[in-house]
């Protein structure tokens, strides 16, 4: 992959927006990779958490939005809990999710879910899932 860098990318409006929504300052991250190392689901992500932040540092908003990472993140906060700089990758992925959902496109549809799940799962799973996946 080749990235052409320019100031307009680094300070791009979309990157600024995701920083604002998440409340996280990407510059804080020094890319130690602790979040990716400890993330229980990073193996299933297209882009692991630390690299998500790296791409945002580089202004590559679109790469972040295309990746499945935000839908895989389970919000367990292990990344934030162990981050030596106090950056929360979970917040950033939540922000990405929000930006995607606020466009009005849902990630899940209730009719696609197995009935057995809806019948037996604790309500909190369903409520939580829908808040994460549906606009």
């Amino acid at each position: 992959m080749k990235i052409k860098l320019s100031k307009s990318d680094i300070d791009g409006a979309l990157v600024t927006q995701i920083s604002k929504v998440s409340g996280e300052d990407f510059k804080q991250c020094y890319q130690c990779g602790n979040c990716s190392g400890g993330c229980p689901v990073s193996y299933a992500m297209d882009i692991p958490p630390s690299q998500i932040i790296r791409f945002l540092q580089l202004g590559r908003f679109e790469l972040v939005m295309e990746a499945n990472s935000m839908w895989v993140c389970v919000g367990c906060l292990q990344c934030y809990s162990r981050c030596p700089k106090g950056v929360s990758a979970a917040n950033i992925l939540e922000a990405a999710r929000q930006l995607s959902l606020r466009k009005g496109t849902d990630h899940e549809r209730i009719e696609d879910l197995p009935v057995s799940f809806l019948k037996t799962a604790p309500q909190q799973a369903i409520v939580c899932g829908f808040r994460k996946f549906v606009s």
Partner: protein
Amino acid sequence: MLKIPYYPGCTLSTVAKEFDTSAKDSAIKMGFEIEDLPQWNCCGATFPLTPDNIMGLTAPAKVLAGAEKAGDTLTTLCSVCYNVLKRTNRVLKDDKEKLSTVNEFMEEEYAGGVEVTHYLEVLRDQIGFTKVTEAVSRPLKGVKTAAYYGCMLLRPFEDMGIDRAEAPTIMEDLLKALGATPVFFPDRVECCGAHLAMDKPDIVSKLSGNVIDSAAREGAEIIVTSCPLCQYNLENTQAESGSALPIVYFTQILGLALGQDEKTLGFEKNKFSPLALLRYKELL
């Protein structure tokens, strides 16, 4: 008798009713009472991680406003409710601007006067584990019990503050108080997969599988938890993998140790009941 306002939450009123009843009954045995808020709503089941999402705070704020009428503390059992309520409370207390915005969305006003605690904290800090031990009539001697904390009870540490994020002991201390043998296992603070059960069951199987393996490897005979979703995920994963560790709420075995009739503890709802094990150990 000491009465503590209590927020059950949706799941504990339905799917995880046994968590609720066993806790209430145990409380009475230990000399206090947890009392349902007269009116409550769902907490939202997830704390909004993005600070600009104020709407996500209104549901828990409404709960807190209701709780403020009942007293200055509110206790919960479900880890998720605890996490959502405690973090929301912290945000509203620290950020007066947000508080007034949220108040504008609600009929009632929340002034920021409630302390959110977990039932475990009530036992440790208000009742005291020595008192709990005194109330035990059926010590769970020799039962190797693994406490699975999961995520929401502990993280983020600076907001939750219930125990050390990486090396908690509150549940193990309770287990010791009940006479059981606590089993420390490496994955006790790792994630079970949570709501991914909805659309990515393979991830949940893997994560929950890791947790169960890790506990089994250290010799656990029972796993206790304080989260209905953890319980659900672990139990389902077990059913798939064919192992058979009972996965129960900590209040269920608390009730057992306090001498409650095992029939009232809701073990019949568990896919893998601990009763056989306990009978085998001649504790029942």
